[in-house]
């Protein structure tokens, strides 16, 4: 014993066995107590509460059924309904009540039309149901189909017709790009939503406002305990917890103005955005051509979808939020203001315009749109009213890209505006940094010249152009544009992102004057809009080149294919003494900013400011 070192002196085998036995005894006592707990629990369930559970199991299966909440309605600012819920009849199957599924499907197929697609989708849904859930088989049953099913009910136990509220957009394609649409919950979405809250819901916001405010619009699920007979028909509701309906929301959108804009576009491709500069509320937002959002609610057919997708005019494409165009001459007021702000020019500064501009020590000629130029001494009013390019080539060159970039940023250019909608794109306000990061090269002075007339690398969405115009109108208040005005009567504020208090009033006055000259000067590019105008308007025209024209080459629109013609742009705000609306219009390949895009903007402003006195009162509320 003594020969074994260390361990023997420390380890006592007998004591260890003794400890083990004592501990095991404690365990045995504990085990018995716990077993006692189990026995008493099962005794309680099976003997004491036997009657309760027996009845529960016998009472022809009490079921807990979710009740889907009603989706919130969407109104325009005057209470016109933009999205509502209408009853739709769905053929449903409770799998547990059906003995032979294939046989039942065959019978249904004889009674009413049932496509392979219906059956395939149904089988997919069948895999993720909960017990005794009604799984939809066919949607939007006609009156006749409902009657046929009702008569043959006895032949197909477990099959039922379910009335559901389904989203409907009464204004059709007018608001497709504002509201977006709801659609059936996809398998991918199933994994991201709260399965309990959506247990009775079949639709979810897919795009646009419907998606952005999904949480607001959806509401909270309710449930009911129902008693049903052996064939799955509900006999009695035992207990009901009502669902909490989704919030009704009111938009800043004015449906009448939107309609006027739509009509004024007359089927041309383009976008119209109108913003209230005081609130950031979006009065109208249109992208044409559009599509009927109702097609997507019940699941669009492959044929319809392909037709929309293959349409050369891209109706599914939201030009207002995603279309990135050169803002062209519509940025000139911004750069003129930048010129004053940085002390490069005053309203009285005059530049010579021989019809072209060249950088020092460079022979390349940057041409004015007007052959021969606008004269030997062009001041700011004239430069904006007549949209003189050379003036802005020189101004941009003197300001330099860094200051242009900094100033443009304050108008919301170069980044998403943060509107309450989906898939917005951010345009492009180029800078040295951007060029280094994306092109890997440094900035050339010639590139600044192009930015001076809103071309070159520069891109902006119609929404961004409208926001920039709204900043001009409100004298420096940059707001994230808002579609949502109120939820359940409670108004929602648009966040103020910035206020340019460092720009003196006199400079705003000068820019406003120049923009009024666009309309009121005899040589103003928007002079055709003046006729019969009942309020003062400040505006700016623009034409964006779709293809670049080499120096010295003549622009001949007749010889160009239609799709290569210039885009027509027009921005304006009114009444200029106290602006209530700022508008941006872009018409693809429309060629003339003042002649084509201008009238659309004027129609929108007329509709908003003159046509409807109830609009003004609605706004006061």
């Amino acid at each position: 014993m003594a020969t074994i070192p260390r361990r023997q002196t420390l380890k006592n085998t007998y004591r260890e066995r003794y400890v083990y036995r004592r501990r095991m005894f404690v365990c045995i006592v504990l085990l018995m107590v716990m077993t006692g707990v189990l026995v008493s629990r099962y005794t309680q369930l099976q003997i004491l509460d036997y009657d309760i559970y027996k009845t529960q199991s016998d009472r022809n299966r009490i079921q807990l059924m979710p009740i889907a909440p009603k989706r919130g309605l969407i109104f325009d600012r005057n209470g016109i309904l933009l999205a509502e819920n209408i009853p739709s009849y769905t053929l449903t199957v409770i799998r547990e009540r059906v003995d032979q599924l294939d046989e039942t499907l065959a019978i249904i197929g004889e009674l009413i039309e049932l496509s392979d697609d219906d059956i395939e989708q149904f089988k997919k849904r069948l895999r993720r149901r909960r017990p005794y859930e009604e799984v939809p088989l066919k949607f939007r049953l006609s009156e006749k189909e409902i009657a046929i099913i009702a008569v043959n009910r006895h032949r197909i136990p477990g099959v039922d017709v379910d009335a559901q509220l389904v989203r409907h957009y009464p204004q059709g394609e007018l608001f497709a790009h504002v509201l977006g649409y709801v659609g059936r919950i996809s398998e991918r979405e199933q994994d991201t939503i709260d399965p309990v809250n959506y247990s009775g819901t079949h639709h979810i916001g897919k795009i646009g406002l419907e998606k952005y405010y999904e949480d607001l619009l959806h509401g909270t699920v309710g449930y009911q305990n129902v008693e049903s007979n052996a064939h799955g028909r509900i006999l009695r509701v035992l207990e009901r917890h009502d669902p909490l309906p989704g919030g009704d929301i009111q938009l800043h959108i004015d449906a009448q103005v939107q309609k006027v804009a739509y009509d004024a576009m007359a089927g041309r491709r383009g976008a119209v955005v109108a913003i209230d500069p005081k609130t950031g509320g979006v009065i109208a937002m249109l992208s044409t051509p559009s599509y009927d959002a109702n097609l997507f609610v019940g699941g669009i057919s492959g044929k319809d979808y392909r037709a929309l997708q293959n349409d050369n005019d891209l109706p599914l494409y939201n030009r207002a939020l995603q279309g990135q165009y050169p803002p062209a001459s519509t940025v000139k007021p911004l750069w003129a203001l930048a010129g004053m702000y940085y002390g490069v020019v005053t309203p009285a500064t005059r530049y010579a315009d021989p019809g072209f501009f060249s950088l020092p020590n460079d022979t390349r000629r940057y041409r004015d749109w007007k052959r021969g130029g606008h004269g030997a001494s062009v001041n700011m009013d004239q430069a904006i009213a007549e949209s003189c390019d050379v003036y802005f080539y020189e101004l941009a060159y003197k300001l330099g890209i860094d200051r242009l970039h900094d100033f443009g940023t304050r108008f919301g250019l170069g980044d998403v505006t943060g509107i309450d909608n989906t898939n917005e794109r951010g345009g492009l306000l180029p800078s040295r940094q951007w060029k280094r990061d994306t092109r890997g090269s440094h900035w050339y002075p010639g590139e600044t010249i192009n930015v001076g007339i809103g071309q070159g690398f520069m891109l902006a969405t119609p929404l961004q152009i409208a926001v920039a115009t709204s900043v001009l109108a409100s004298r420096g208040e940059l707001r994230a544009p808002r579609l949502l005005a109120a939820v359940g009567g409670e108004p929602v504020e648009a966040p103020l992102l910035g206020k340019m208090e460092d720009v003196p009033e006199s400079q705003w006055d000068a820019i406003q004057h120049s923009m009024e000259e666009v309309i009121y000067d005899v040589r103003g590019t928007g002079r055709s809009l003046r006729k019969g105008l009942q309020y003062r308007m400040a505006g700016k025209t623009g034409t964006a080149q779709v293809i670049s024209i080499a120096a010295g080459e003549e622009y001949d629109s007749e010889s160009l294919e239609k799709r290569k013609r210039d885009h027509a742009l027009f921005v304006a705000y009114a009444p200029s003494e106290d602006p209530e609306i700022a508008v941006a219009v872009i018409i693809e390949n429309g060629e003339s900013g003042g002649g084509v895009a201008g009238p659309v903007a004027r129609a929108v402003m007329d509709a908003y400011l003159l046509n409807s006195p109830d609009v003004a009162s609605g706004e006061q509320q």
Partner: protein, 381 residues
């Protein structure tokens, strides 16, 4: 001690001693335990036949799993506890590495990563941990004097903590509870001081309140409350519990009869093949059936405890005791959660619930137990 060392050095197959041994001794099998386990498996297959809507294919498949598992059990019984003791630390390190691997390249379903896929063969390292855990703690404690000092206790707790957390974060709460329990049992049986046990409990309780009040987010609190009281979530987790309680309660004392359970046969009862199978048994055989099943479990556990107390090696004793006590935890947690007594954490009813992996783990455990027993009988002769 010295006697067993002497015997192990006997030339194998040396003479008369071998010829006197019975078949079960030569196979190193405990016939009593084997009989009880087979009986339990038979009951399990019968209940499964009903739970699967009289689907013979399901029962045959489970039968095949059982056969494989019993063969594995006999093979494991051939190992000597000393061998397990030697392997324990290496097995532990390997197991930790596998558990870490699961976190990075594991595959899984329903938001949990539990499986490791090795060349087409998938397995759950957490199942390995259920056995390697008590082995490791038993190895560690038995190589030091018992009852363990505070230092060894603390080191053992670290050994228990690491794999438990790795499994709990997969997340697999049920398995991590079983793993932690198996390690704790070894510590307890090893004679860890009562002062330690009570102060640990006190500390845990004292830490719970500030955690709840200041550390946890609202949604985390809600999840814990739902776990503790699933019936508050009627359409989600509550559904299972409401249905299983109805199934159990409506069985009464005598039960509705084999294949007559309406709750299970009308698909009201979820997971009726697996974790919730006791509800099928309770509905069809009533409280009578439940008590008989508990008796069967009690006999198995009793036999297991007796075997463990016979072991003269400290390692075998601790390991055997932990294995059989963990077996009880399976039974208690499963029957508790299905009857709404405990939160639903996903622990199968041993040898009755359908499923291959846990079956193999369980019977490997019994194989180890039999190996310990066989060595003791050798000593007695």
């Amino acid at each position: 001690m010295s006697q067993s060392d002497f015997l192990r050095q006997l030339p194998s197959g040396a003479g008369p001693m071998y010829s006197q041994r019975t078949l079960s001794q030569r196979l190193r099998i405990d016939p009593v335990m084997l009989f009880l386990l087979l009986l339990l498996s038979g009951v399990g297959l019968m209940v499964l036949y009903s739970a699967s809507d009289e689907n013979a294919a399901v029962v045959l498949r489970q039968g095949r799993f059982l056969s494989v598992a019993f063969v594995v059990m006999v093979l494991v019984a051939q190992l000597h506890p000393e061998q397990l003791q030697r392997w324990a630390p290496f097995a532990f390190i390997g197991c930790i590495l596998l558990l870490i691997a699961v976190h990075f390249m594991g595959v899984g379903a329903k938001g949990a990563q539990r499986w490791l896929s090795l060349g087409g063969f998938r397995f759950q390292p957490s199942e390995l941990a259920k056995l390697i855990m008590p082995m490791t703690v038993a190895w560690y404690l038995s190589s030091h004097p018992l009852p363990p000092s505070w230092r060894y206790t603390a080191a053992s707790l670290v050994i228990i903590f690491v794999p438990t957390v790795l499994v709990a974060t997969q997340p697999d709460l049920g398995t991590s509870i079983l793993i932690a329990a198996s390690g704790m049992f070894v510590l307890f049986l090893g004679g860890i001081s009562w002062t330690f046990i009570f102060s640990a409990f006190g500390l845990l309780l004292a830490a719970a309140w500030p955690m709840w009040e200041f550390v946890l987010h609202d949604y985390q609190r809600r999840r814990i409350l739902t776990l503790l009281n699933p019936e508050s979530d009627k359409l989600g987790a509550g559904w299972n519990i409401i249905q299983s309680k109805t199934a159990i309660g409506s069985g009464g004392f005598e039960g509705k009869g084999w294949l007559m359970g309406t709750q299970s046969h009308l698909d009201f009862l979820p997971e009726s093949h697996t974790d919730f199978i006791i509800a099928v048994l309770a509905e069809e055989y009533g409280l009578r059936g439940v008590l008989l099943l508990l008796l069967l479990y009690a006999l198995i556990i009793g036999r297991g405890i007796w075997i463990s107390t016979q072991a003269k090696h400290c390692f075998g004793r601790l390991l055997g005791g932990s294995i059989i006590l963990t077996f009880f935890v399976y039974v208690f947690v499963n029957m508790g959660m299905v009857s709404g007594l405990l939160p639903v954490v996903g622990v199968p009813l041993p040898l009755v619930s359908q499923g291959g992996t846990s079956l193999v783990t369980l019977l490997v455990g019994f194989g180890i137990l039999m190996g310990i027993y066989a060595d003791e009988r050798l000593v007695h002769q």
